[in-house]
Amino acid sequence: MFDQLSERLQSTLSEVRSRGKLSESDVDSAMREIRLALLEADVNFKVVKAFTKTLKERCLGEDVMSSLDPGQQVVKIVNEELASLMGGTGSELAMATSGPTVILMAGLQGSGKTTACAKLAQFFKKEGKDVALAACDVYRPAAVEQLVTMGGRAGAHVYERGTDADPVDIASWALAEAQSERRDVLIIDTAGRLHIDQDLMAELAKIRKQTRPHDVLLVVDAMTGQDAVGVAESFAEVAEFDGVVMTKLDGDARGGAALSVKAVTGKPILFASTGEKIEDFDKFHPDRMAQRILGMGDVLSLIEKAEQQVDEKEAEELQEKMRKDQFTLDDMLTQMKQVRKMGPLSGIIGMLPGMGAMKQLKNADVDEKELDRVEAIILSMTPRERANPGIINGSRRKRIANGSGTKVQNVNNLVKQFDQMRVLMKSMANGRMPTPQQMAQLAGGNQRAPRPKMRRR
């Protein structure tokens, strides 16, 4: 897998600091790394090319004297540029001033339209709106049944006429019904179609013409590769979509398609679909997506998750302890328990910068066992040992290992890791991010995937 971009940039640019300014060749080697990272994230090749060109201009001659290190500085610039390319926050759906707001959903087969329809319905339901769905996928077997079931779960009314009627007629009829029944929102589900299928694309254009939707949404699978650009361009031409719903974002795809689609069509990504359940749906955060594409982790989401679990005052106390270097094994135990309450470790780790790339942390099963072991070891220590690990000598280690059913080696490792962690925490609490190397050390290794030798600079 791909190593973390910032780590690469830091090592590529490690000698630059002394010179103070980035030279053309520094920037070129940095651009090479960025190119690879973006390609690995499935950003379209042509978008990457254009993007690194802009980026290069901005990086050239950038003053790096004041920054911590040039690698970080470039990462910062990349992040800013990516976020601005992804579009600022706060794009909204257009709503009708009177009568039902009509939303037409379109996309390739299997991109997740039907599920997204139900989720969008639920989204409006929560705002107290009366929502209806129109079942216009008459082609895929049991698509109508699926929409009826899922719409029902969302508490939406479903207009359906089986699979014998024409999708354009169903859509027009559903709109008339929604108008006379005074619904607030009508969401039209359509069959998945290939962007090169002329008949079906013409049908989509017709549905659009007949129902004059306030919003047309393109549903795009976050795992899509290079083809996302061609698909989006075709749908933009035929269906003139206004925004995008990114689906399957709960997976580990970097989601470069989001960037490609935005870059070539200029349309904002409006919603993120993050699971199979109807409530796994939310507004899209472009800034977070930029970080995800770069493998910088979704720190913001993590903070939000942590906020739900951790008592704020407790957290402040902990922060204070970290800064003063008074963090103890007891604190670590408490923290570990809190982290584990946040859900399966694999999910959380993916959100941490740099952690996503670490092999040892990928296998969640091993992790959970390792955590069990750490807990057992700490629990076998006396309160004094937990508060002051410095006193844990050879015989104490043996006792602890026996008590926790582990090996002395495990106890040694824990004490050593705890020491490293304390150093890290101190610097983090003082406002500095640890380097990925430090984090990797903490995770017990520092592997590097061989980097593909691409020619193009």
Binding site: G110, A142, I196, G225, V231, D250, A364, M454
Partner: protein, 333 residues
């Protein structure tokens, strides 16, 4: 020559298909079938017979290799595999092993790509009676549709009788969807209640197949993301339930990979195969514009070959994977 069904299916001691007693069809229905078949053939011919133009190699210099890299990346082959392929070809040209001639270089490129695509190639093992085939994969990649197509081909091409197990008991209307395909393909369907245990459905289907002397059981499973550890564990459990009845089963486990998938496809194949020991890939939706280059990375990194390709939404739209055709189509203009 394209790969045939007989080449990619190992029927063991069973009489290979030959002539199947096809029921008399009404003439117009029959014409419909042939028209569709023709259409689907021309569709996949379009997708599979255009070639990389030799003009890319008219003049061979740095730019040639860069353009080649670009083309492979745009086909979703991914940087590591792209770099390996280009490096190999470049070296062979530089050392003189391949003459500096546009056609020769192009042909060698196709050969190299086909070699990579052939990594781990093996026929589908349907020699057991009944043979158990399990379909797995991420949501919406084409599992259920592919099962319909496989069943139809197994019965038309080799005269096998198929039982389908609707072990996607999770997604709304999943069993109804498979039921339609079972009707179309002339297969039997075993289903359970929505929300019931998927392992139990597979179990019942195997029993039903045994009782009726059916040749093949195809198990549909719910789509899931490979990152959902609990759902991956559930899948492994379905497999274990099957193995309680037949220790060597499933004899063939296929993962469906959508051809539009980018680099994440590699993770999908890797993690699914860790959970359920995948034997092959069905590369679906090749009738679109995506080239499905991630299949090359999957073959070369994980030793999991593509066995079938999906080229549309009807019963006929499934074909045996042919590494040579695929290599040619990967970079076709």
């Amino acid at each position: 020559m394209a790969t045939s069904w007989q080449e990619i299916v190992d029927l063991g001691a069973r009489q290979p298909g030959g002539v199947v007693a096809v029921e008399e069809e009404a003439p117009e229905q029959r014409r419909g079938v042939f028209r569709k078949l023709r259409e689907s053939l021309s569709k996949s011919r379009q997708a599979l017979t255009e070639e990389i133009s030799a003009s890319l190699f008219d003049k061979i210099d740095d730019e040639t290799w860069e353009l080649l890299e670009e083309a492979l990346i745009l086909a979703d082959v991914g940087a590591p595999t792209t770099a390996a392929v280009v490096e190999k070809l470049e070296q062979e040209v530089e050392s003189g092993a391949v003459p500096m001639d546009g056609v020769a270089v192009r042909d060698r490129l196709i050969e190299i790509l086909a070699e990579v695509a052939s990594t781990g190639r093996a026929p589908m093992d349907l020699s057991a009676e009944p043979a158990i085939l399990m379909m797995v994969g991420v949501n919406g990649t084409g599992k259920t549709t592919t099962i319909g197509k496989i069943a139809w081909h197994l019965s038309k091409e080799m005269g096998l009788s198929v039982v389908m197990a609707a072990a996607d008991t999770y997604r709304a209307a999943a069993a109804e969807q498979l039921e339609t395909w079972a009707e179309r393909a002339g297969a039997e369907l075993v289903r359970g209640e929505e929300g019931s245990d998927p392992g139990a459905v597979a179990y019942d289907a195997i029993n039903a197949a045994r009782a009726r002397g059916a040749d093949v059981v195809i198990v549909d499973t719910a789509g899931r993301l490979h990152t959902q550890t609990n759902l991956m564990e559930e899948l492994a459990k379905v497999r274990r339930v099957i193995q309680k009845q037949i220790p060597e089963a499933p004899h063939e486990t296929l993962i469906s990979i959508d051809a539009t998938t980018g680099q994440n496809g590699l993770r999908q194949a890797k993690i699914f195969s860790e959970a359920v020991d995948v034997d092959g890939v069905v590369l679906t939706k090749l009738d679109g514009t995506a080239r499905g280059g991630i299949a090359l990375a999957i073959a070369s990194d994980l030793n999991i070959p593509v066995k079938l390709i999906g080229v549309g939404e009807t019963l006929e739209d499934l074909r045996p994977f042919d590494p040579g055709d695929y290599a040619k189509a990967l970079l076709a203009e």
